[in-house]
Symmetry: C2
Subunit: 214 residues, 2 copies
């Protein structure tokens, strides 16, 4: 059965998934790269950028679950580009000519534009739709495979609050961002209906897994 | 050297140390006992209440650091009693005739009263003083031993913001309380100056240790 999955979404110990003051030069605002240092050390990341080396611990193992079994992604407007990208007709995402998705990607925005086909199998579709409708479109495109719920924070909250997420893998990084977009707002009692497992890693983060209970 | 220590303070995954709606009947408000279920399973707790059994995992081991080396505690008014205890001249804490502290305990309150000597070595002193002054008094009473910073949330934040804490042991419980008193407010960048270590346990919680870097 096709599931919805959040894969390795990093948050600070105080629950922020991005910082304050997002711009084209600082996509995560004052958080900078601090939420993702753990990832940059892994073998998975090294392969991605074509460099040898990198760690092979649980951090690396869990990152390798990013692609397998995924048939489509849904992402929020805030992940696709910096504030105001809708005014730039040439904006084609942060990820260059060959984005790392390699599936259809549905971008939620109030100002849809024509689809963009990239290299490597990624096609960006633009949808002005609530979570359930977007999920129906992504499920159809995923052809029986799973749908990744990609973030950012606001759309994760929407999908979680609507109980549309089957599996969520968060990575808690031991820093206190203090401000930005907080994942947990409005999600009291979310743990009900999920099994929750936590596992700290040698890389200095804690993986938190929510898996829908049967 | 005498250090200041926070020992096994439980918070929810979204950072709340108590719930909303604290009363005499519900000391932690809507959180109930959910933040402390992990503790009730341990051998340490079983010994405390005079029952055999209980687990012996890392949860138990870390709980046993509560007393050794401690010469005094400082606690906030909200830990000593329910809202309004200052109006009850007979209120002598939640913990019965023989409280589990066995040292001088300094209760921070805007309405001090005479000290109360309990059984087992606990004496409650009442202080209307800012953190640095309270700490000076507790240090003197501790006679070279460590001072426990006991909570609740508001006084922990005050001591942390003033950089008066040498060691903090938090226990992250995988529930989302959604409301109540949040430990992390106003503590952006707290991790600087500390080494932070996280360890998930078989008991289903994650221990987070802040230790002041030298």
């Amino acid at each position: 059965m096709s599931r919805t999955r959040i894969q390795h979404f990093s948050i600070s110990l105080d629950g922020f998934g991005t910082g304050e003051g997002l711009t084209r030069e600082a996509p995560l605002g004052h958080a900078g790269e601090r939420l993702h240092q753990w990832m940059l050390k892994t073998g998975w990341w090294h392969e991605m950028i074509g460099k040898p080396g990198g760690s092979g611990c649980i951090d690396d193992t869990l990152l390798r679950l990013f692609a397998p079994g995924i048939g489509a992604e849904i992402m929020g407007a805030g992940k696709f580009g910096p504030p105001g990208w809708q005014d730039d007709p040439d904006w084609k995402s942060w990820w260059g000519a060959n984005p790392p998705f390699h599936t259809p990607v549905f971008v939620l925005t109030h100002r849809p534009r024509p689809s963009i086909e990239m290299e490597g199998g990624t096609t960006f579709h633009f949808l002005n739709a609530p979570p359930t409708e977007a999920l129906a479109a992504a499920r159809e495109a995923a052809k029986g495979h799973d749908v990744r719920i990609g973030g950012g924070v606001a759309m994760l909250r929407d999908f979680l609050a609507a109980r549309l997420v089957d599996h969520m893998h968060l990575v808690v990084v031991p820093i206190l961002l203090g401000r930005g977009a907080r994942l947990w707002d409005g999600l009291e009692g979310l743990e009900r209906g999920y099994e929750v497992e936590m596992a700290s890693s040698a890389g200095g983060v804690t993986h938190v897994m929510f898996t829908r209970a049967n």
